[in-house]
C-alpha cells in the first residue's frame, strides 16, 4: 500500500470513530453552533463602532470559524490522544507496522475534515441567517484555514504529549485553550491597543482570528496576505510539531 493510500485509510477510520462517538461529535459542533445561534441572534442589529461601524455578526461569524477549527483540531486531538494513550489503544498501534507519522497524519487529516465542515457550516449559516456577506478573499481564507488548521493540530499533539493522563486531559486542554480564546477576541472584539491583546498577540489564536476576519472584512480594505499572522501560526505550528515529536508517548505514564 502506498503512503498516500495508507494515510487516506487512516483518515477514513478516524472519521468513522469520530462520527460514531456522540461526545466528540457533540463537542466539536454543539458549542460553535450554539454560540452562533445565541450571540448571533442577541446581537443581530448591533454594530461595532470601533471597527468602522460594521455589523457585530460580520466580526463574530469569522471569529466563530476559528473557534470551531481550534476545537476540531487542537482540543479534539489533545483529548483523543490522551484517552487512547491511557486505554492502551496507542500502545497497540505502536506494535503494528503502521508508521508513527502515518498514524498522526490520519488524526490530523480527520480533524481537518471536521474543521473544514465546521468552517463551511458556520460561513453558510452566517450568510443565510445573520446577514454576513461571502468572504471577499476566498483564496486567502483557504490558505489561512489550512495553515491555522495545521498549526492547531500540531499544538493538539504537543499538548497531548504534555498531559500526564486522560483524567487530566479535559481540564488541562480547556485551561490552555479557553483563556487564550477569551483574550484573543474570539467572542468579542478587543481594543488592539489593550494589554490583553498585546499578550494575545504572542499566541496563535489571535493571529488566526485576525487573519480569518481579514478575509471576510466587509470594509473592503485590500489587505494582501496577512503575513504577520501566518508567520505566527507557522512558528507555533513548528514549535508544536517539535514538542510532539520529541515528547510524544504511546503508553500511559508509569505510576
Amino acid at each position: 500500500m502506498s503512503d498516500v493510500a495508507l494515510v487516506l485509510r487512516q483518515v477514513r477510520f478516524e472519521q468513522r470513530s469520530f462520527w460514531r462517538n456522540p461526545a466528540s461529535a457533540f463537542f466539536a459542533f454543539a458549542f460553535p453552533v450554539m454560540f452562533l445561534v445565541i450571540f448571533g441572534s442577541l446581537n443581530r442589529g448591533a454594530r461595532l463602532e470601533s471597527m468602522g461601524n460594521i455589523p457585530y455578526n460580520a466580526y463574530y461569524v469569522p471569529a466563530l470559524i476559528t473557534f470551531g477549527v481550534i476545537g476540531a483540531c487542537m482540543t479534539n486531538i489533545s483529548m483523543t490522544v490522551s484517552i487512547r494513550r491511557d486505554s492502551g489503544v496507542l500502545k497497540r498501534v505502536r506494535g503494528t507496522p503502521l508508521p508513527a507519522w502515518a498514524f498522526m497524519a490520519g488524526l490530523i487529516g480527520s480533524s481537518a475534515v471536521v474543521g473544514a465542515i465546521l468552517a463551511a457550516l458556520i460561513t453558510a449559516a452566517g450568510m443565510l441567517f445573520y446577514g454576513v456577506s461571502a468572504p471577499r478573499h476566498p483564496a486567502t481564507l483557504l490558505l489561512v484555514l489550512l495553515i491555522g488548521g495545521g498549526c492547531f493540530c500540531a499544538l493538539g499533539l504537543a499538548l497531548a504529549a504534555l498531559i500526564p493522563n486522560a483524567e487530566a486531559a479535559p481540564a488541562i486542554t480547556n485551561a490552555v485553550v479557553l483563556p487564550l480564546l477569551f483574550i484573543s477576541g474570539t467572542f468579542y472584539p478587543l481594543d488592539p491597543n489593550s494589554t490583553l491583546s498585546h499578550i494575545a498577540d504572542w499566541f496563535p489564536m489571535r493571529p488566526f482570528a485576525l487573519a480569518v476576519f481579514a478575509a471576510f472584512d466587509p470594509r473592503g480594505i485590500e489587505p494582501g496576505l496577512p503575513w504577520v499572522d501566518l508567520r505566527s501560526m507557522l512558528l507555533w505550528g513548528v514549535v508544536g510539531l517539535v514538542v510532539a515529536v520529541r515528547r510524544f508517548r504511546w503508553e500511559p505514564r508509569r505510576s
Binding site: 489503544v89 506494535g95 503494528t96 507496522p97
Partner: protein, 297 residues
C-alpha cells in the same frame, strides 16, 4: 537460526533491577512459556523483545534482528497480544481487523482469522458489544492478522473464567499447528504445562529453572513418596523400611519407588495385610514452581 536469542539481558527502572542478566533461546516453531509470579520481570522481557523498551545491557535478537532497531520491517513479521489492552470500541469487529490487515504486507484473510478465534459470527458487531473474553479473542485475532512468524502472548488468559481459558488454550494449540513460534507469558502453571514445549521459570528478574513441563526443576528425579494408612494393629516400627507418620498417614520417601513399593507390598501380602489408601506421589509442577519462585525471607 533461533526465533529469539537473548544473552545477558538487563533492565532497571529507577535503580530497581527488573531483569538481571537473562539468557535464553526460543527455537523456530516452538511454543515457549515464560512462567513466573507477578513482578518477576516477564512483561519487561517481552516488551524489550517487542521493541517497546530499550535494554540496559546484553544482546537480543528477534527473528535475527535487534528489536531495539528492527522498526517497521520487524513489526511486520511479529504479532503482539498485549496484557489487558483496550481497542477502539466504536469500530466493528470486521472493520478493526480489516484496518489492521492493511498494516501488513501479507495479511491472512480476516474471515479466516475470526473463525480461528471463534468470533466468526460477530464480524458485523461493534467492538464494545463483545464480552471481556471475546475482546481478548479479538485481541488475539489482531495479533494473528498479519500472518506473523512469531507471536507474543503476554498473559493471554489472565482474568478468564475456567471455560474461557480452556477455549483460549485450544486457540493457542491451533496457532501451533500453523507452525508459528509462540512466546507465552503466564503465571498459571497449568497453562504453561498445557501449552508450552519448553518453560523458563522466572523469579525476581532471573531464570531459576528451564526445561520441558515434564522435566522442569528435576521433577522426575525428585524423590517420590509412597503414602498409605497404617493398618490396624500394626506398629510403625514393624514396617520393613524406615517411614514416618504425617497427617494420619505413613510416608516413605524413596529415589527408587519401584523397588521400595515391591518390598513394601511383598511384606504386606506375606502378612495378609491390605494397605488402605496406598499411593505413589510425585511433586506436581505446582509444587516445583512454588519451591522455585519462593522469595527468601
Amino acid at each position: 537460526m533461533p526465533a529469539i536469542a537473548v544473552e545477558g539481558l538487563r533492565k532497571s527502572y529507577g535503580g530497581v533491577e527488573a531483569v538481571r542478566g537473562l539468557s535464553f533461546e526460543v527455537a523456530e516453531g516452538e511454543v515457549f512459556g515464560l512462567l513466573g509470579p507477578n513482578g518477576a520481570g516477564k512483561t519487561t522481557v517481552v516488551e524489550i523483545l517487542e521493541g517497546y523498551r530499550r535494554r540496559d545491557a546484553g544482546s537480543a535478537a528477534v527473528l535475527g534482528v535487534d528489536p531495539a532497531s528492527g522498526g517497521r520491517a520487524l513489526r511486520a513479521r511479529v504479532g503482539i497480544m498485549l496484557q489487558e489492552c483496550a481497542m477502539p470500541r466504536l469500530l466493528g469487529v470486521g472493520e478493526l481487523l480489516e484496518l489492521h490487515a492493511g498494516y501488513y504486507p501479507r495479511p491472512r484473510p480476516a474471515g479466516e482469522v475470526l473463525e480461528l478465534v471463534g468470533l466468526g459470527e460477530r464480524v458485523g458487531d461493534r467492538v464494545k458489544t463483545l464480552s471481556g473474553g471475546q475482546q481478548r479473542r479479538l485481541d488475539l485475532a489482531l495479533a494473528l492478522i498479519g500472518d506473523p512468524e512469531l507471536i507474543f502472548l503476554d498473559e493471554p488468559t489472565t482474568g478468564f473464567d475456567p471455560s474461557a481459558r480452556r477455549d483460549a488454550w485450544e486457540i493457542v494449540r491451533s496457532i501451533r499447528t500453523l507452525g508459528r513460534t509462540v512466546l507465552l507469558t503466564t503465571h498459571y502453571m497449568d497453562e504453561a504445562q498445557n501449552l508450552a514445549d519448553r518453560i523458563c521459570v522466572m523469579a525476581a528478574g532471573e531464570i531459576v529453572a528451564e526445561g520441558s513441563p515434564e522435566t522442569l526443576g528435576g521433577r522426575q528425579a525428585a524423590a517420590a513418596r509412597i503414602r498409605f494408612t497404617l493398618p490396624e494393629g500394626v506398629d510403625l516400627g514393624a514396617l520393613p523400611l524406615p517411614a514416618h507418620a504425617a497427617d494420619g498417614h505413613v510416608v516413605l520417601e524413596t529415589a527408587t519407588p519401584t523397588r521400595t513399593l515391591h518390598e513394601l507390598t511383598a511384606w504386606a501380602v506375606a502378612r495378609g495385610l491390605e494397605l488402605p489408601g496406598l499411593e505413589v506421589l510425585r511433586p506436581s509442577l505446582e509444587d516445583v514452581y512454588l519451591e522455585l519462585t519462593r522469595v527468601p525471607g
